[in-house]
Amino acid sequence: MIEQCSMPEGWEGPQDDKEYVGFATLPNQVHRKSVKKGFDFTLMVAGESGLGKSTLVNSLFLTDMYRDRRLLSAEERITQTVEITKHVVDIEEKGVKLRLTIVDTPGFGDAVNNTECWKPVADYIDQQFEQYFRDESGLNRKNIQDNRVHCCLYFISPFGHGLRPLDVEFMRALHQRVNIVPILAKADTLTPSEVERKKGKIREEIERYGIRIYQFPECDSDEDEDFKLQDQALKESIPFAVIGSNTVVEAKGRRVRGRLYPWGIVEVENPAHCDFVKLRTMLVKTHMQDLKDVTRETHYENYRAQCIQSMTRMVVKERNRNKLTRESGTDFPIPAIPAVPDSETEKLIREKDEEVSARAGACVSCQGLHQSHSRMWEAWLELRAALSPTPCMQLCWAIVPSLSMAAHAACSRA
């Protein structure tokens, strides 16, 4: 007896061309285009010096980024301030190109007085957002370089009892700006039970202090059981207890990357020894795109919204103040911080002004709208002349021309 094998429902078969449009090849098209364009990823590493950050970065991406680095002595470190350094490396694997940027923070947490040592780091992240904001609102958007920080690996010392006050302050200052992935560094100092205990303590403290670390997205309900278990295991391993090494040692006849001690060999890629493999999988194989998406959709949008909000708030306040001064004759202090506008930004603003007025003048067809536009424009110029610009405001002013131009273009088409 021949068994009748049943077709899955809804499958017409390849011979039925009437129902087959062909857009099922879209993913392949996207894939080809992205591979041609290449990918980029910006990773920030932060933590006290001596926790193995550089070694881990080298181990993760199998490169040697810090060849010419010179370690400072303790005396030199007394007067050192927190710096931000950037290393860019282009790596390729199976035809896929990745431009990897590593942002390092030497000097963090090293001084005797570490008050606000996270400020340079927060400022750097904001600067990248600001740069992207400017580029995005600019006229020429073809080659925007995305330098926004996609992920921050924060190294927690294994020698303490959980999080230190500095760790808490740093994470609290940065969790709204960047995806934080906490890492338990130099995990070969700890026995397995100590690792579990520390992880539990750190997780509890993270919750207690309201720190929002990077959350892995929930898996879809139609994924298979194995994947779900893997995902669950990943979530429970935070913070990842890692060991880094770029030296190859002999262990049980195999050549592995590890650290050689008199009492044994620690293998970096052995899941029983540390979470290095989990971290690498998460960071590179499974969640790199998600990290970029969250940065783009959540952190960057928050920054942008805040920026625009604060600008409109200040404009409203200024308008009210002007009204009041004319009526009551008293002076209210402007809440804005007086910043000296540099010649660069002034030039940019002037250029934009010229562009917009040139475009506004060229259009003849919609006189009415044009008039109201130029009235608005004049009012805006007046207002702007009265204010001393902060960087955020200058940025927003750069948008207004483009917004009004967009409106203008829309009306000219109508």
């Binding site: 006290e48 010096s49 001596g50 926790l51 370690l71 400072l72 002595s73 303790a74 005396e75 470190r77 007394i78 090293d110 001084a111 005797v112 007085n113 570490n114 008050t115 010392s157 294994p158 020698f159 303490g160 009892h161 230190r164 006050p165 500095l166 302050e169 130099k186 070969d188 100092t189 026995t191 397995p192 205990r197 509890e204 650290r259 050689l260 001690y261 008199p262 009492w263 044994g264 060999i265 620690v266 293998e267 029983a272 020894h273």
Partner: protein, 284 residues
Amino acid sequence: MSQSGLGKSTLVNTLFKSQVSRKSSGWNREEKIPKTVEIKAIGHVIEEGGVKMKLTVIDTPGFGDQINNENCWEPIEKYINEQYEKFLKEEVNIARKKRIPDTRVHCCLYFISPTGHSLRPLDLEFMKHLSKVVNIIPVIAKADTMTLEEKTEFKQRVRKELEVNGIEFYPQKEFDEDLEDKTENDKIRQESMPFAVVGSDKEYQVNGKRILGRKTPWGVIEVENLNHCEFALLRDFVIRTHLQDLKEVTHNIHYETYRAKRLNDNGGLPPVTTETEENHESNL
């Protein structure tokens, strides 16, 4: 003393093979890192071979844990000077006790974090200030985090930094009494110090013997094995060979320096007239 979590309590327990220090992992969950540096002194009497010793362990939770650690060594300096002051008062008394209770600090174990790079600015500042008032023995804590090469390199760097900054740790060069002492101490100073130690109070079976150690998935770290760490060297140094010397240096040198300074400042003896008058009256 050191930042929290470097294994001070475990090491002290291992050194004296008894529970003389309360481990902070026994704290309940609500206890947080203290906001200022506290000084906790716990006294024990331990006995071995008919010899009794009163051991006082002074711990400093909260040292170096804050974000701003400026002058966090001041409470400790104050404590040490207070002990000298107490002793001085007793010594200057007319009716002195036969054995003045000695609460002075004889030895300070300073734990260096094994970063593998160099000393931290906080370590330098602390040791600079305190090497003048107390015997400091620098110790590299949690040494199981470094391989052999890293250990030797780190030790060399630390020794060099201490020398460059003029920090005299115990045994101080200037107090070597004779040639024998000098050669012995030189060897210790140039080769072994700072001792890289691993502490543990758990016992495991290795080759049929029960030894103190740490069990990891890649092997057992034996605390008393000289190939693994220098705990045995530290123990012999502090307890078996130099214990008496530590006390003598404290008494003859650090205490005398303090005393001389006090006498010069006051232009005479410290004010104890009230006590002597009382004694005088009670004797009448």
